[in-house]
Amino acid sequence: MSVKTLEVIRKRLNERPDELRKARAHGQKVVGWTGYNIPEEIIHALGFIPIRIAIGGDDRLVEVGGRYASSKNCVFIREIVGAFAENEDPFIQQTDVLAFDATCLQNFRAAEVIEYYFKRDVVVLGVPRNFYWEEGQEYFVNEANEFTRLLEERAGAKLDGAKLAESVALYNDIRKTLKSIYHFQAAKDNVISWEEVFDLIQAGDLLDKKEYLTLLQETLAELQELQPEPVIEADGADGRIFISGSLIPRGDRKLISIISAVGGRIVGDDLWTGILPHLDLDIKEISAAGVALGYLNRTPHAALPYLDLESDRRLKKLHELLAESKAQGVIYHTLRYCDPFTFKAKETKDILNQSDIPVLEIHTEYAGSDYEAMRTRVEAFVEMIKIKAESAAEVAA
């Protein structure tokens, strides 16, 4: 069985760079954004075409980026810098303005490097580390207003409340539909895989938002027809894996393909290029500040330090998603020099082990040299959790 709309989406993605080129020829501007708290609805409502700059998996670009930044920056950031250096990515080529946030300080540094060496117009949104303080939220509101003002200058128009309300409604519908679709991939006898849903989520980074919503709704309708009552249920033979940790952007499918190749089945994630940023985003007020706070008050990104382990919403969300997906083990993915996640690897392992959830940390970069080593470790892990699940099933029987 295959979901036909997914084919349409792949085709539309291929056509998208040309479409962007034409839109720009007609005076529209493209804002390329990267970060974790960029309120995309503001960009959209100002009449820009927002696209997310999230690419990975190319060690050559990592090398190029390292020449401008350094070999001590995370491979994702280095690849982005490298992509701007070469300017051959069909989406990056179409960007007029860049919007970066300072959630991760390496992202902030990438903005500076790209601005300096490649003379790109960059707008930066400051993000508070003490995001849970009232003062931190107030600072972020001011930053969001400044971010909006800088974008308004570039748009040549003021942010219109009615247009913002339309954008918020559109994005809310997208998030709601994605969440419904996501449920299907984890179901027993699933008709759509996690990998397909992951690609589908990332397609939204680049496609026109209205069209994207339509395509999502068509996908959901197809799924509902193919599997009217999806039930998420663990199966001993599944090898149900949950992926957590550093982001996995388009272009980077190394770990994902290994898990699948060794017989594991991914059933959930809390990646920032996956479902997580689409969850729990509650915009309470139609204004730049209201949208920004909606973003900041989601499950926080690991780059924002939180000092009390017991009340950490990121860990709570991880547990919640693990329970929902009935995952049997977690692969904690850390990218080379990705401090937000590598600093928490041992802590995460310790916490999940307390709940008897097996964890495998995979620390990697975009080079292929560690492929076989990763494969061996993942294969052993998948085998281990399958045996563990089967033993548990036998005991229960």
């Binding site: 350094s70 070999s71 003062e135």
Partner: protein
């Protein structure tokens, strides 16, 4: 380590040294020069033999510029760190782990003691007596390894985890300025939440980024962070912190900063270097008033030293071990620096370093709301500005210090400084024509690798 292996201060120096000034401490006590001499010649060689090593390249060995009293007094204050901090703590002063490259006025205003990573390391080191150079190196590496294990092997800055969580060091708070020069620090603070020491209070003093000093809301936010900080320290110290407390502390610390600026300008103006690189760095850092865990002590030593430097410059006295016309290097980058002894042997001298100098050379307005003034000054640190602004300030320092070349050095794992190394160096070269070199330091330790030093020496030869 046999006694004969240890360096000894010449006995004939005693009379000259004992005629120098006392060190005044914050609690009103003082150490006379005679007491300092006794400690440095009789007590410390037994308790801390590593500092008395005869190995000429050991970075943490005693300065041989024995006629500069501040050199001996600085070592005295460093070697008594454990005794003094324990005593202050017993007397009710909470100890707070902070970041390097930041001012410490608010911590002291609230009755605390602020110690940056190197000082926390010194305190921890002081608890292990009788160790020779190699034994001490093994101990500190073993300790650091514990932090790597608990956090990440890619960590550069571990926020003292190895000492506070794994070493039993009684730090009361971990509360550094975050986002300031180091990306690891806030994650390092967060890492303490899973350590065994639940008594330590954790707090991030959030440093906003991007044109922060020009944004009133960023200044306000940072001022609010500072208010929370002094309030929390005040709770630990059992006192209410007033605006006047902070104003007084700012004035005191401004005195240190002004003295350091004056000392640096004197030093830079001299035809012959009046001190070696190690002592120069210590003198500048005393102006930051953090280095000894006691601002009053740092201030008295710096005041006395300033007069000595003035005299040396006036009389054309050159520091021992420095060549007549050394190549003058300015160091940029993260919190590391090349081995001064090797640099000087190669015919050069380090004349300045941007990271601490950035905060030490930033004076705080004394009239008006002290929190706003302090916040504005801190957010104006040149080191934390855009590349163009930072380069402009660095070039000004290069001009003042008459530097011949710039070494940009960063520690392995330092994401934020490494990321801008090339940008800063390219801008400096473009706008000043001064040659630059970027080097990554792969490991800690006091002697540094041959590979690193070969590169530095080649750069010196080229200059």
């Amino acid at each position: 380590m046999a006694k004969t292996d240890l360096y000894e201060y010449p006995a004939e120096l005693r009379e000259e040294f004992e005629a120098t000034e006392d060190i005044h401490f914050r609690d009103g006590s003082r150490a006379t020069a005679a007491e300092v001499w006794h400690f440095m010649t009789e007590v410390a060689p037994k308790r801390y033999p590593f500092a008395y090593t005869q190995k000429k390249y050991a970075g943490n060995r005693l300065s041989r510029d024995i006629h500069l009293p501040s050199a001996i007094k600085n070592h005295y204050l460093l070697l008594t760190m454990n005794d003094r901090i324990n005593k202050s703590r017993e007397n009710g002063s909470p100890v707070i782990f902070v970041q390097g490259g930041q001012s410490v006025d608010p911590y002291y205003a609230a009755g605390g003691i602020a110690l940056r990573p190197a000082s926390v390391g010194l305190w921890a080191r002081g608890r292990h007596e009788g160790l020779g150079l190699n034994e001490e190196a093994v101990r500190s590496h073993n300790q650091k390894e514990k932090a790597y294990h608990a956090i990440s092997f890619e960590a550069c800055q571990t926020a003292g985890y190895e000492n506070i969580q794994e070493g039993g060091l009684p730090i009361d708070m971990v509360a550094p300025f975050t986002c300031l020069r180091c990306s690891d620090i806030s994650y390092g603070v967060e890492a303490h939440r899973h350590g065994p020491n639940k008594a330590v209070k954790l707090m991030n003093i959030d440093y906003p980024m991007r044109h922060q000093a020009d944004k009133p809301w960023a200044v306000e936010y940072f001022a609010q962070n500072l208010r929370r900080l002094t309030s929390e320290i005040g709770k630990k110290a059992g006192r209410e912190v007033t605006d006047d407390d902070l104003s007084r502390e700012i004035k005191l610390h401004n005195e240190g900063r002004r003295l350091a600026i004056d000392t640096a300008e004197l030093w830079w103006s001299a035809d012959l270097p009046p001190t070696n690189g190690v002592d120069r760095r210590a003198l500048y850092q005393m102006g930051g008033m953090e280095i000894h865990g006691d601002p009053s002590a740092s201030l008295t030593v710096l005041r006395e030293s300033n007069a000595y430097i003035r005299e040396r410059v006036k009389n054309g006295i050159k520091a021992e071990g420095v060549v007549d016309k050394p190549i003058r290097l300015f160091v940029c980058g993260s919190c590391v620096f090349p081995n001064d002894f090797r640099i000087e042997e190669a015919g050069a001298i380090i004349v300045g370093q941007d990271n601490h100098w950035s905060d030490i050379s930033t004076l705080v307005e004394e009239e008006g709301d002290p929190y706003q003034n302090l916040a504005h000054a801190i957010l104006s640190y040149p080191y934390e500005q855009s590349i163009e602004k930072r380069a402009e300030w660095t070039i000004e320092q290069l001009r003042k210090s008459r530097a011949d070349g710039v070494l940009f050095l960063y520690q392995w794992g330092c994401n934020t400084q490494s990321a801008i190394a090339r940008m800063l160096c390219d801008t400096i070269k473009r706008d000043s024509g001064i040659p630059t070199m970027i080097i990554e330091q792969h490991e800690g330790g006091s002697e540094q690798s041959e590979q690193l030093l070969n590169r530095v020496n080649a750069f010196i030869e080229m200059l």
